[in-house]
Amino acid sequence: MNDKRFKIANREARIGVVLVIINFAIWYGFAYGLGNGDPSEYEYIFGFPAWFFYSCIAGTIFMIILIWVAIKVFFKDVSFQDGEDEK
């Protein structure tokens, strides 16, 4: 019942939820925040409309970095077999 490994697993699942919320916020915020106006007045970054650049390109790269950091910092190694861990 109070397997330590499950504590770790639960925490990592919560981190997954937090990451997905951040992901959605970036995606939604930039897309509809910047993309709402008249397309002829869009700003362009590297040739892409700004909303698209931030929401789909920069946002994705940012998420990948964030996921990498989250794994490095928070994710722990555990054994998947029962009975090996109880040292």
């Binding site: 697993a9 997954g16 040739g47 909303w51 990948i64 996921i67 994710f75 998947f80 029962d82």
Partner: protein, 482 residues
């Protein structure tokens, strides 16, 4: 018209896949735990393999053929929508994660249904699950199969039936003899081809269009709406697009063909690596392929049939040998999806139906025998059905997606993380999810401006929680060590 430069790389690709199948068969023959080896590859996958098999199973004909076709017509808004798939790379593995890996080993689960059966201790759950997997994934497999045959048909100029047979023989041989290990290894090759193909085609298209600035300029001239998040016809509302996060992002946890992969990897380290590699891979493919569809418009205006955008563009903008490699990508995507579905339907029939209901006492030899035969028969049945193919590729595919998600999502998530989840909650939420999804899909698709999957998923959540709570007294917490 036959393009030899295109056919030769495709042929080489098929030969390598065959070799992998025979190599994996040695493991199957030498294994002392046939079921675990044949249906899970002995739970030995490392990070790269796990990432690739998740990505390749998930990425299908619609990512490479259907999706770019829609982008071609709707513009950047559809690329935005496609990016809702990014969580399929990390969220799924983080949620199922270590808990699922530990529990499925403890239960000695080989299939997703094994897990549900032991967790909820209910044959009704097994029955509903097996039925929905067989029905939905059979439909989905047929759609992919037809897509594969059509693709070979359009690339080689062979007629549909010959193309279908080439595709069927290739897939069936390596899956039947090699099992999950062959599927995962070929997925690694196929996934790699998918990523490389996407990058090559993206660069080729940008060059052919004279740079991004130029392409965006032409789109702005043609129809400024192409550059907005709302689609060329304004049909992509924020609410509608947001609900795709459920269908193609978060709900992916409930897809059995994806979930089963989360019980087949070796250790924590594999999981960590796979999350990162998988997210980068899915991000690259989904972003790249859908953007390619938009960029293709100024490069090759006036393509009437959406499904022809990607193949036509490839042959137009790339030199022949590169075109061959790139066109192997959708082929790889289709094969890697089909092989996973075939394996899954077969494991459902053998492990969850035959061993569960028909012959629990089957000997090892019988199980082995049945597994090969069931896989073969299902494969042949799909081939027969594909002879008179149904039309709307994406539709069928998404139908299966939404149906399975409505049925399984909460049963899996609560099964892992909520000790009060019980069989009454699971059964009622599966039924509510399935019935509601089919009803909405048929009667009022995209009701209230949300994708059809939204309400069934929410309704099955509410049902699950309330029924489980209301029936706590009936199930004195069946002690599953959660």
């Amino acid at each position: 018209m036959i393009h030899w430069q295109v056919i030769i790389p495709l042929f080489v690709f098929l030969v390598i896949i065959f070799i992998i199948g025979f190599w994996a068969n040695r493991h199957v023959r030498n294994s002392n735990s046939f079921l675990q080896e044949y249906f899970l590859g002995g739970r030995e996958m490392g990070g790269f393999l796990l990432a690739m098999t998740m990505m390749a199973t998930y990425g299908s004909a619609s990512s490479f053929i259907g999706g770019p076709g829609v982008s071609y017509n709707l513009g950047l808004g559809w690329v935005l929508l496609a990016m809702a798939q990014l969580p399929a790379g990390y969220f799924v593995l983080m949620i199922l994660g270590k808990k699922f890996a530990i529990i499925s080993r403890r239960y000695e689960a080989i299939t997703l249904i094994d897990f549900l059966k032991k967790r909820y201790d209910s044959n009704v759950v097994v029955f509903i699950s097996a039925l929905s997997i067989i029905v939905f994934l059979f439909a989905s497999m047929t759609a992919q199969w037809v897509g594969g045959a059509r693709l070979i048909e359009s690339l080689t100029g062979l007629n549909y039936i010959v193309a279908l047979l080439i595709f069927a023989v290739t897939v069936l041989v390596y899956v039947i003899i090699g099992g999950f290990r062959a599927v995962a290894l070929t997925d690694a090759l196929q996934g790699t081809i998918m990523i490389i193909g996407t990058v090559i085609l993206l660069i080729g298209t940008i060059l052919a269009g004279g740079g991004i600035d130029n392409i965006m300029g032409s789109l702005l001239n043609e129809n400024p709406q192409m550059l907005t998040p709302f689609g060329s016809d304004g049909s992509l509302t924020p609410l509608y697009v947001s609900t795709f996060w459920i269908l193609i992002g978060l709900g992916v946890i409930g897809l059995p063909q994806i979930a089963v992969r989360a019980m087949s990897y070796k250790d924590s380290n594999s999981l960590h690596k796979a999350i990162l590699i998988g997210t980068v891979g899915i991000g690259t493919i989904m972003f790249g392929m859908h953007l390619i569809g938009v960029l293709a418009r100024p490069v090759m205006p006036g393509i009437e049939i959406a499904d022809k955008v990607m193949p036509t563009l490839t042959l137009e903008v790339l030199p022949p040998v590169l075109a061959g490699i790139v066109l192997a990508a959708p082929m790889a995507a289709i094969m890697s999806t089909v092989n996973a579905l075939l394996m899954l339907v077969s494991s459902t029939v053998v492990k969850d139906v035959y061993l569960n209901f028909i012959n629990p006492e089957a000997t090892d030899k019988q199980i082995k025998n049945r597994s090969f035969w069931v896989t073969t028969i299902i494969g042949l049945a799909v081939v027969l059905l594909s002879l008179s193919p149904p039309d709307l590729l994406i539709m069928l595919n998404l139908f299966a997606f939404g149906g399975l998600e409505s049925a399984f999502l909460w049963a899996v998530v609560f099964g892992l993380y909520w000790s009060k989840a019980n069989k009454y909650g699971a059964i009622s939420s599966m039924i509510v999810g399935l019935v509601l999804y089919i009803a909405i899909y048929q009667l009022a698709p995209n009701v209230f401006g949300m994708h059809s999957v939204t309400i069934p998923v929410l309704a099955s959540l509410v049902t699950f929680v309330s029924v489980s709570l209301a029936t706590q007294h009936k199930t004195a917490l069946n002690n599953t060590n959660l």
